[in-house]
Amino acid sequence: MRPGTAVRLALAGTRTDTLRVGLTGVSAAMASVAMLSAATVLAIRIPQPYQPSGANLSPQYQSDLLQQPGLRPGVASALILLCIPVLALAVQCSRLGAPARDRRLAAFRLAGATPAQTLAVVTVEAGLATLLGTLAGLAIFLGGRQLLDRRNAAGELWLPTDVLPPAWAIAAICAALPAIASLLAALLLRRVRVTPFGVVRQVRRTAPPRTWPAIVLVIGVAAALGLVPLAIRFQAVPTWVIVMMLIVVPVGMAVGVIAGTGSISYVAGAALRRWGRAPSTLLAGGRLMADPWNGSRVLAALLAAVLIGGISIGFRSQLTAQFDVDREAGELWRNAIGDPMILDAERNAFYTDAMDLVDLAIAVGITIAAAALLVAAAESLVSRRRAYAALVATGVPRGVIGRSIVWQLLAPALPAVLVAATSGWLITRSIGHEVTSGGISGTVCLADTAPACADPANLREVDIAPITRLIPVPLEGLLFLTAGATLAVLTMIALSMLFLRSSTSVEELRTT
C-alpha cells in the first residue's frame, strides 16, 4: 500500500473520527507545550564563573523557582508530570468512535487489505494527528515566548523567555510524541482482531475485580503510617531505602486507588441495580457492572491528580504547623530576652509560593483529567446511541438517560475521589504527625562581639523548651480538594449532555 493510500484511508471517516483525530491533536499540542516548557526550564544556564560553594543563582528571573538551579529540575518534573493527565486524555480520545472505526477496518480487510495494512492505517491516523498537534504546540510555544516576554518593575523576567531549548531537544520532542502515539495506537488495536467478517468481539463479562486493590491500599496505608516512620526513626536504615519507600508507597497507593475504583464501580453498580427504583439507576448499574474497569480507566488520571493534591495538602499543613510553632518559639525568645528572633519570613514565603505553584499544577492536572471524563461520558452516549434512540422512541424521556450517565460517573467517582484525597494526605503522615520547634536552655550572649560577651550584663539565662504539636488534620483543604474534583466531574457530565439530543435522535434508528 502506498503511503498516500494509507493517509487517504485514515482520513476517510465519519464526524466522530474527525472528532477523535481532532482531540488527539489537541492532546498532542498540550503535551508538546508542557514538554517544551520543561526543556526550556532545564536549558537555563548557570551563570559563569561557576561558584562551587555559592548558590549559582540566575538573577534575571523574578521567581525563586527559576533563579535557583536546585529547584529547576523540580519545576521541569512538575511540567512533565502534567503530561500524565494529557496522556490519559489522549488514550480516552482514542476510544472515541472506535467501534465504528473497527467496522471500517473490517471493510478494508474484506476489500483485500492485509492485517499489516489495517495496522498501517491506524498508526498513520494516530501519528499524523499527533504530528500536526505537536507542530501546533510548537507554534503555540514559540508564539507564547514572544507574547509572554514580560518583565516586572525590577526588570526581572516572569518566565524564562530568554532561553530556548537546544535544537536537538525540540526535534526529539516533535519526533517522539508522534512515534509514541503511533505505537500506542498499534498496541491498542491488538485488543480487537479485525477480520474480513467484522470485528471479533466476544460477549464480555468482565470478572468482577477481586479484593487485591483494597489489600494494596491497606498495605500502603499501613506502610505509610507504620513502616516509614519506623524506618525514619531507626538510624541504621540507609537513606536510599527511605527515599525508595517514599516513592514506592505513593505509587503503590495510587495503583491501589485506581484499581480499587474497579471494585467501587462494581459494588456501586450492583447496589444501584439491586436497590435503585428508577430506570436511570438500573441503566447506570447495568453499565457499571458490565464494565467495572471502565471507571478505573476513565478516572485514573483524575484520581492520580487528586492523590497528589492530597499529598500537597498534607505537606502544606505540615509546613504551616511548623511555621506556627517556630513563630511561637520566637515569641518566647522575644519575651525572654527582649530581642525579636530573626523570623525567616522570606523563607516561609518561598515555601508557600512554591506550594501555590504546585497547587496550580494540580488544578490544571485535575482540569485536563476531567476533560478525559467528558470524552468518556460522550463516548458512553454515542456508542449506545442506537439502543438509546430506540428507548426514546418507545417513550423513555431523555432525562432518564441523562440521569443514568450522571449516576454512572458519579457513583464510582465520589467515593474514589474521597479515598484518593485521604490516601494522599495519609502519605504525608508517614513523614511525621507532629512538629517541633527548636528550643534552647542555657546562657545566651546578647552582644555582637566576643569581648562584650565577657560582661555578665550581656548574658541572659534562658530556658525555652521545644514546642511539640500535633499537625492538625487539614479537613478544610481535603474538603476543598474533593469538592473541586467533584465539581470538575459534574461540569464535564453537564457538558456531555450536549451530546444527549443528537445521540438519541430518530435518525439513529434508520436502517434502510
Binding site: 427504583r277 447495568g286 449506545r384 439502543a387 430506540a390 422512541a393 417513550g395 434508528l509 434502510t512
Partner: protein
C-alpha cells in the same frame, strides 16, 4: 371506518427539500393488523414515525382516540408512546448491559410500577414469547431471533393498544422471522392490539389483515391492494 383507533389525514413530511411523505391518509382499527409495504426509501419508516408521534409531520393530522397527536408537545407524545403505544425496530434496541428481564421491565419501572411487580410482569411476557429461560441473559448472549422476541416482549409489556413494528424481521433469517411474526400476531389478537407493520417482504405482509402499498411518499391505490 369510524371505529378507527388511530387515523392520519394528509400527512406531509420533508427532510430538507426532499419530500418523504406527500399527503398520506391512513387509518387502523382497534385490533386490526395492517401491513405497510413498498420499496425501500418510499417513506414507510417516516410514516410510522409520524403515526407513533416520534416525528411531527409538516402538515396533516394524526388522531389517536380523539387526541391530536401531532399537536402534542414532545413530553406528552413520549408519555403516550410509553403507555399506550408500543414500538419495535429492526435490531439493536435492547440495552446491551441489562438482562432480558431488566430490559423488559424498563417501561414498567418508568410508569412507576414497583420493582417486584415489574419483574413478575416481565417474566410473564418473556414466557409468552417462549424466551423465559433467557431472562437472566444479556442481549449479546442471544441470537437475533431471541433478541427480537425479547424486544417484542418489551414493546408489549405495557399492553399497548397500537403496536408499531418497523421491519421487525428485517435482520432475521426466514425461520426466526416466522417465529417472531407468529408470536406477534398471536399476542396482538389475544390482547386486541392494533398493529402497524412496516415491511418490504410480501411474505411477512401476508400475516396482516390488510395491506397498503406506498410509492414515493404516497399510498398507492388502496382498493387495488384490497382486491388482491
Amino acid at each position: 371506518m369510524n371505529d378507527a383507533i388511530l387515523s392520519a389525514r394528509g400527512l406531509v413530511k420533508s427532510y430538507g427539500n426532499s419530500p418523504a411523505l406527500r399527503g398520506v391518509t391512513f387509518e387502523v382499527a382497534a385490533g386490526e393488523i395492517v401491513a405497510v409495504t413498498g420499496p425501500s426509501g418510499c417513506g414507510k419508516s417516516t410514516l410510522l414515525h409520524c403515526l407513533s408521534g416520534i416525528l411531527r409531520p409538516d402538515a396533516g393530522e394524526v388522531v389517536y382516540r380523539e387526541q391530536r397527536v401531532d399537536l402534542m408537545p414532545e413530553s406528552a407524545r413520549a408519555r403516550l408512546r410509553r403507555s399506550e403505544l408500543g414500538v419495535l425496530f429492526q435490531f439493536g434496541q435492547l440495552v446491551a448491559e441489562l438482562t432480558a428481564a431488566e430490559n423488559v421491565s424498563l417501561p414498567l419501572l418508568l410508569a412507576g410500577t414497583g420493582r417486584r411487580a415489574a419483574r413478575t410482569a416481565a417474566l410473564t411476557w418473556l414466557d409468552r414469547l417462549g424466551v423465559a429461560e433467557l431472562a437472566e441473559q444479556r442481549p449479546g448472549e442471544m441470537s437475533g431471533g431471541q433478541q427480537q422476541r425479547v424486544a417484542l416482549a418489551r414493546a408489549l409489556v405495557t399492553e399497548p393498544r397500537v403496536l408499531f413494528a418497523d421491519e421487525p424481521t428485517g435482520a432475521l433469517d426466514t425461520l426466526a422471522g416466522e417465529q417472531v411474526m407468529a408470536h406477534l400476531v398471536r399476542l396482538a389478537r389475544a390482547h386486541r392490539t392494533a398493529v402497524v407493520l412496516v415491511t418490504h417482504e410480501p411474505r411477512i405482509a401476508g400475516y396482516a389483515d390488510r395491506e397498503v402499498i406506498m410509492r414515493d411518499g404516497e399510498l398507492a391505490d388502496v382498493a387495488l391492494a384490497a382486491a388482491r
